[in-house]
């Protein structure tokens, strides 16, 4: 789950990061009024979850209430990455002497957190990683132990900071790691972390993504979810425990397991078809879940045939079969359906389907070939 900048700022500030004051506004008037609380110039920033906000014109400076209102009007009229801008953040503009990058993510290989810092902040850090990887300094951090002072200090000196700045940096780096651990983040980033004209460090941006698996124990963070983050279909899928991504093809897919779901799409493509979606029903698929899955697939007007491919392990194939039968009875649309079930309780499942008059393919390949044919 992604967290909006304004909420991430609040969390970072709570962990001691020097985040300049800000206000949030959803109209140009409010933005102009909010700006008047600060010294001029102010910066006005689109609050969207998509990246590339600056390039899309979502960040502007303003030197007066009129300019602030004009800038806010422009930004509130934007769509950034297909996401309409609903709110702007207003904050005093900082005189920037240097821009650094600071971020914390999971390091899968080292199985720890990794704190990344770069003297080349402000720009696209992926770009730095691709063109000048040695400009990114990394420190692995044990989330239980936290970041030791000496290691934060060493990093601060390596970034070319002075003694007094390094003392600030130690608190910032440790605070960012603490924030990451505290909210079960998957990404916590300050880009840029700036040195202002007075030589002090300031965190003038804040980015925070949360580990979806941990939201159950982060009720305060769950509250920050932007209902617009996902489409209505995705929201319904998530509520039902399904993983659904809409694509552009004509063959609806319902599969258990992400790996098999992707393989099924690959095989459909191999036989000349185009998948209309990725849909993983996960483990333990009951009637409601299967019904919702069918609904989601059939709402897509491009869908001309549906492939159900279940290889049951922890799931029971007979449960899935019962779900398919019940769902089919409830649904009105007539779209060709190709079913393949195998694995745990396979025999019972095939019997159920047979009784319901639904034929079943034995292999994924034959099922894919058949559904591609049906969708033509």
């Amino acid at each position: 789950m992604k967290v909006h900048e304004c909420d991430a700022r609040e969390i970072f500030r709570r962990h001691g990061l020097p985040v300049p004051d800000w206000r949030v506004a959803s109209t140009a008037d409010d933005a102009a009024q909010a700006a008047s609380a600060f010294e001029w110039p102010v910066v006005i920033k689109a609050q969207v979850l998509a990246g590339g906000r600056g390039k899309a014109g979502g960040v502007k400076l303003a030197d007066s209430p009129a300019e602030a209102a004009a800038a806010a009007t422009q930004i509130l009229g934007l769509n950034i990455g297909s996401e309409p801008v609903r709110r702007v953040l207003v904050a005093p503009a900082v005189d920037i002497a240097r821009e650094l990058y600071l971020g914390v993510v999971i390091d899968r290989t080292a199985q720890s957190l990794v704190l990344m810092a770069s003297a080349e902040g402000g720009v696209d850090i992926e770009e730095v990683a691709a063109t000048n990887p040695s400009a990114i300094l990394r420190v692995n951090v044990d989330p239980v132990v936290g970041l030791p002072d000496w290691e934060a200090r060493q990093l601060g000196f390596a970034l070319g900071l002075t003694g007094a700045q390094v003392r600030q940096f130690v608190g910032i780096a440790q605070g960012l790691v603490e924030a990451f651990v505290d909210v079960d983040a998957s990404l916590a980033e300050v880009n840029p972390l700036v040195v202002d004209d007075a030589g002090d460090l300031q965190a003038i941006d804040a980015k925070l993504n949360i580990d979806d698996n941990a939201l159950g124990r982060q009720p305060d963070i769950e509250q920050l979810r932007d209902p617009h983050e996902e489409s209505e279909a995705e929201r319904r899928a998530r509520a039902a425990g399904l993983s659904y991504i809409k694509l552009d093809g004509t063959i609806g897919c319902m599969v258990n397991g992400a790996g098999l779901a992707m393989a099924t799409m690959d095989v459909i493509k191999h036989y000349g078809g185009e998948p209309a979606n990725f849909l993983d029903v996960g483990g333990g698929a009951g009637v409601e879940k299967i019904t919702t899955a069918f609904e989601l697939i059939l709402e897509d007007p491009n869908v001309r045939a549906v492939l159900v491919n279940i290889f049951a392990g922890i799931t029971r194939a007979d449960d899935v079969a019962a779900g398919v039968i019940a769902a089919r009875e409830r649904l009105t649309q007539e779209v060709p359906l190709v079913v393949r079930v195998a694995g745990t309780r396979e025999a019972e499942a095939l019997e159920l389907l047979d009784c319901a008059g639904i034929g079943a393919e034995r292999s994924m390949d034959s099922a894919a070939a058949l559904v591609v044919e049906a969708a033509r």
């Binding site: 720890s112 850090i125 989330p143 698996n213 790996g259 690959d266 195998a342």
Partner: protein
């Protein structure tokens, strides 16, 4: 021979009294696995339908002391699974298979240093488990019927895709020494390289199918290992060639690993290491069968 499990495996099932735990424990016994104990805190002495002869204990330590269990299978909700892993590690179990899906990443980061410092092999989490057909041992939820004894090793990040490939191998007459589902989470106890080195050392395993998917760089690291260390043939299928760019995988992930995580990149790395990469799961299985002839 096989890897990780064999005829000496004595299994304790953590969370055996739950509906999923009891259902799959019965299936494991049908496959031939010696399930010697169940553990559910506060349910010591409970009787589970169809498993009346399997004693239930409050703690893994007690189960291990009383029954000589040396492996565990974890069916415990995500909020408690990391703790269940640590309990198995502390009890000195050789192999711990954690099926639980949805464990927070930080929980696994907290657990892994203790797993690595121990003598326990953790498989998973979010994995289907392990099968060794010749010994009649299955730990986890893989459909037993698709398996057959033989000389192919299978290692996979995906659950259901594994069954698919094992089915093809069996259909093509190629049985398996051991099939290991290592799990699809970012932080897992045993990775491709660990399993490949076990297969390389196992005289009964003559070749390996490696099933990967988009994201991370474990396939690329496996490719390096195969090139530098493996003498046995390896074939592979990478799921996700037609998948949209993985949305959950943020930018910084790619910065850390230094790879794109795409199916094409993984296939190239594997091919460069001499791995035969199949177009479909069935193709990957057939490529291995051809090599083993």
């Amino acid at each position: 021979m096989s890897i990780l499990l064999d005829a000496t495996t004595r299994l304790v099932v953590q969370g055996m009294t739950g509906s999923q735990g009891s259902f799959h424990t019965r299936l494991m016994r049908e496959a031939g696995t010696r399930v010697v104990a169940g553990v559910t805190p506060g349910r010591a002495g409970a009787s589970v339908a169809g498993l009346e002869d399997v004693p239930v204990f409050n703690t893994v330590a007690e189960a291990t002391q009383e029954t000589g269990a040396n492996a565990a299978c974890i069916f415990v909700p995500a909020a408690f699974a990391a703790d269940a892993i640590l309990e198995g590690v502390a009890a000195g179990l050789d192999v711990i298979v954690c099926l639980t899906e949805g464990i927070p990443v930080l929980d696994m980061l907290r657990v892994m240093p203790r797993v690595r410092a121990s003598g326990s092999h953790l498989i998973g989490p979010n994995c289907p488990g392990i099968t060794t057909p010749a010994d009649g041992v299955k730990v986890g939820v893989m459909p037993w019927a698709v398996h057959s004894p033989g000389h192919a090793g299978v290692v996979s990040r995906s659950g259901t895709l594994t069954y698919e490939v094992v089915q093809h191998l069996t259909d093509l007459g190629a049985g398996q020494t051991t099939t290991v589902g290592i799990g699809g989470d970012p932080i897992i106890g045993t990775r491709f390289i660990d399993v490949l080195s076990m297969f390389e050392a196992d005289p009964e395993t003559h070749g390996v199918v490696l099933l990967g998917e988009i994201g991370g760089d474990d396939e690329e690291r496996a490719a390096t290992y195969i090139q530098e260390r493996m003498t046995k043939p390896v074939t592979s299928f990478i799921a996700g060639k037609t998948a949209p760019p993985e949305r959950r995988m943020g930018h910084a992930g790619a910065i850390v690993s230094g790879t794109s995580g795409s199916a094409t990149a993984k296939e190239s790395a594997l091919r460069a290491a001499g791995v035969l990469v199949g177009e479909t799961p069935e193709h990957a299985a057939r490529l291995l069968v051809d090599r083993l002839r």
